[in-house]
Symmetry: none
Subunit: 162 residues, 2 copies
DNA sequence: CTGGATCCTTCACCAGTGCGAAACAGTCAC
DNA sequence: GTGACTGTTTCGCACTGGTGAAGGATCCAG
């Protein structure tokens, strides 16, 4: 069956809806009416198929878009020193990289303070305060690439797109 | 007419040729024989169309791939003394050429200071500072062809398009 | 609802260090 | 000599990691 996250859009009837989807970066597959010229896709999350079309073709194209969208949705940490998100990247200090790793690994979910702390200082943080201060710094950096670290009081932190 | 840089590949007859094109990162459009399942594209420089197809459709898909490929063009170093990028080129000194090579080979990724240093001075840099100074000079040159060397503190350097 | 405890944010400061940049000098080719 | 290439020194900024402290936010006991 069709991957749920790819939206089918009738072209050119639903061009308004298409603009909306483009703006929010959602993957979309245009169903182009037989006699119409397909529009030029504005990014790699868009594709089109001329209808009537074989159902397998529609699925194949949707299945191509879905993982692309998924990959763009998640940030990545390279070698503990680069934080990538949506074609942007920033350098992280070694400590920040170590803190970011568990947050990226569990993107969108709460990560216990303890886990972040141990990732940065396996032998324990130097000060009770250290984690907070460095989280502040990581926060400011992450914002530069559209990422936000949110606090869940008494639980931990959560990394998400702004 | 068709953008020249997009290669048309008959599928599945020319699958060997496809692997070659994939390896070298060339944009390619698969002409899928009517009864065949299209393969899953391995990157966004690949697309497919089921034949027989409207010529306009083939062109539209090729026209989508071409600019993507153009945006992904990598710089090249010739004979350690010429740096090419997007129809522009500059001369490099032998030392700069040697420094540029690993950066170009790993375009867009972090290259350790050490690697750049050893490429320029296999026996070790003459001074602790030499790499920094020559990197400054390479930087200025690279900017002339739209390339930027970015520093990742305590790690290395990264070459990217401006 | 009120005051305190707890958790967290934010700021200011410090010491150590990596790196940028300029300036200058030596060498070599033409 | 002139200019390109390379080596060397020096200065200083900005980043990093650590620390203390002030204060805000939230929760809870009473």
């Amino acid at each position: 069956m069709l991957p749920m996250d790819v939206t089918l859009v009738r072209w050119p009837e639903e061009s308004a809806r298409l603009s909306l989807l483009q703006a929010e970066g959602a993957p979309r597959l245009l169903l182009v009416r037989g006699d119409t010229e397909p529009p030029m896709p504005i990014d790699e999350l868009e594709d089109w198929v001329r209808i009537p079309a074989d159902d397998r073709d529609v699925r194949a194209r949707a299945a191509t878009l879905a993982p692309r969208a998924a990959a763009r949705l998640r940030p990545q940490v390279h070698d503990d020193d680069l934080l990538r998100f949506r074609d942007q990247w920033i350098a992280l200090s070694p400590l920040e990289g170590a803190m970011a790793r568990p947050l990226v690994d569990r993107f969108g979910a709460v990560v216990a303070r303890d886990v972040v702390s141990r990732s940065a200082w396996p032998a324990g943080p130097p000060t009770r305060n250290a984690l907070d201060v460095h989280m502040l710094r990581l926060r400011r950096r992450a914002r530069l690439v559209g990422l936000e670290v949110r606090t869940v009081r008494a639980r931990g932190y959560l990394l998400q797109a702004v």
